[in-house]
Structure formats: structure tokens, C-alpha cells
Amino acid sequence: MYAFNYHKPASLEEAAELMANADDGAYLSGGMTLIPTLKQRLASPSDVIDLSGIEGLSGLSLDGNRLHVGAMTRHADVAASTAIPALADLAGRIGDAHVRNRGTLGGSIANSDPAADYPAAVAALDATVHTNKRSIAGGEFFTGLFETALAEGEIVKSVDFCVPDSAAYEKFPNPASRYAVVGVMVARCADAVCVGVTGAGACAFRATALEEALSADFTPGATDGVAIDDGDFNADLHASAEYRAHLVAVLTKRAVARLI
């Protein structure tokens, strides 16, 4: 690890100020991606700004049909929650127990790893991302490979999700890392069907062609014949773009099968 200055601010204002004054700062939440990246010398920030000392960024609360999840809420705490069983299921399948004891929702989505699990839920559950500056619609949050709509220095405070009538998350995990080769969340919320996909493309997205087919006929077979454009899909040593497109269809079918 290269040397850096470590800070643990007590407020969002102090954190933002430290970032503004740093040559090349990095926010740290659970550290389950950033610390391995630092150790491999793939990043060399001048300042690491730990957000764990800021009060009020963790915990879950239900407000009508919206579930409010603080950005510093750990995967283990979401996995143990009951308001949205599909979200708890998703969180309980991230990494391993030790990762879930440290990793956070805010850290995961701010990183926008194409193979992370939470982005599928942000896409599928009509999420809103609240930052220290504004609120961002879930559909506009992920903008590309490790890219989000967050401005320089902007901090995710919380995310709220629609509590769906029903939802299911299906994932084809990489057998070594448990990252999603592809992950699909299917959610039904007031007659609308949402299909959030992670792992397949540069960042999470909604599969609108599948949503239309499932809105007309909510059965696994309804996805047959729906063309999934893999032109922009990821292709690497784990899976080709064509294979990922196939997984999107298969995992969607499995999710739907669990919901009927």
C-alpha cells in the first residue's frame, strides 16, 4: 500500500471539506473494494476519508411503501431485515460473511462495479439515491463502468426503495468471488413489472423488453422469444456477451417462476 493520510470526519460537511482540500481523495465506507485496491497498488489516493464516524448514515426504516436504507448500512444488516425479503436475500448473497459484516450499500453503489449485486435492486425497485447535495432517481444513478451520476466529492447518504408486492433476485455467481456474472431482480409493484439486471452490461440497467413481455403475461414462458441485445454486454474470461445474454433470460425465468 502506498502512503496516504487517513481521516475520520464526524460530519458530512467535514468530510466534503477534507475531500475538497485533498490532492486526490477517496471516501472509505466498508472498504471491501477500496482496501484490496489500495493493497494491490491499483489506487494511490493522497487522502482516505473514512465515513464511518458520521452519525445517522446507518439503519433501515420503513415509511409507507418506501424502505429507507442508510448508506453505511452493512450488507449483514440488510440481510437480516424483513421489509423487502428479496433485498435481504440479495444482501445475504454478497461475497462472504466477513464481507457482509463490513461492506455497505452506499459503498457498493457508489463504486458501480458492473458485477455488484445491489445495483440490480436499485434498478428494479424504483430507488432514489439521496446524497449530501440532492436526490437522484435510481434509473439515472449508474452511468457506466465504475461510473455514477455522483459529482466529484458528492456523498451517498441513503437509498430508498419501493416495497414491492413481490420480488425475487436470481444470481449466477462467479464460483470463486461470488460476484454476479449476471444477476436479475424481478419486482412487481402496483401492476408494473420491473427487471433490474447487473453483471451483464457496463452498469446495471432495466431490461425493458423483458418488462413489456412480463407485463402482458407474467409467466416464465413469456420471456421466450424476447430478443436481448448483447451488443454492449461485457465479455471476459468468465463469460462471453452471448452467454451473459442467455443468463439474463434464464435468471429472469427463474425469478418469475419463484413469484407465481
Partner: protein
Amino acid sequence: MNVTLTVNGTEHTLDVPDNTLLVDVLRGQLGLTGTHVGCDTSQCGACVVHLNGDAVKSCTVLAGQADGAAVTTIEGIGSPDDLHPMQAAFRDNHALQCGFCTPGMIMSAIDLVQKSEGLDEQAVREGLEGNLCRCTGYHNIVKAVLAAQQNMAQGGN
């Protein structure tokens, strides 16, 4: 920077560089070498300790993040004359071969058993996903955790 850690019940205030990892404090500064570094890439789990009661990979926690926290290492759960039920179960079930992964396995397994009820073989295997045994001795490790679950429920730790 200064960090204060309560390790196995004893408070220590230490002056460390900002980029120090928790595992390096434990092993290098406090001499608690029971916690192992296997992969150093956050995958193998040999370095697992309890941080405020949760199993974490101490090679992937900065000392600053642990400031003010309570840490329990393999040295803090039992002694050669008074083994923790999980340690005793590992011994009784021949759940260690080379022994390198054992401290992390035991710390993970204790956290798993403490936070779960009625674990079966599959749940133990899934619960220990983050711990690798290069001897591939998983079968007896799972047996040991299932045995310890019973002993811990009957009044152990």
C-alpha cells in the same frame, strides 16, 4: 496517528502509520501471531478476528477504522488448558491438518454459531464460504462446527 484498541480485553494505545492494517497491528505490534495472513487479498479468511463482535478479515480493515473498537483474536477465546468449545471440537474431529487456516476458521465458526440456530451441514458450508483450507480438509471442519454448535448451546461460549 494514535489508535486505541481493546484486544482480548486489554486496552492498547499505539502510534501507527496511517496506512496500517489491523492485522499488522495485531501481529507486528502486539505479537499476537495466532492471526495468520494467508492470501493478503481478502479471500482466504486466515486473518479473521472479531471486531466489536463480528467476524472480519483483519487484512482488510485499517487500524484507523478499528480505533475505539474491541477486537478478539484466537488468543482471546481459550487457553491450552481451557479450550473454547470450538477449539475442542476441532481437536476432537481432526479438523486441522497443516493448521494454517485454523485460527480464521475457528473465529469465523464461532461467529457463525453464535448468530445462527440449528445450523445443518449445508448452512455451515455456506457460512464458512469466506475461509479457505488449502489442505481441503473441509469435511472434518464442518463436522467440528456441527459438534461445537451442540456444545456451545449446552452452556459453552
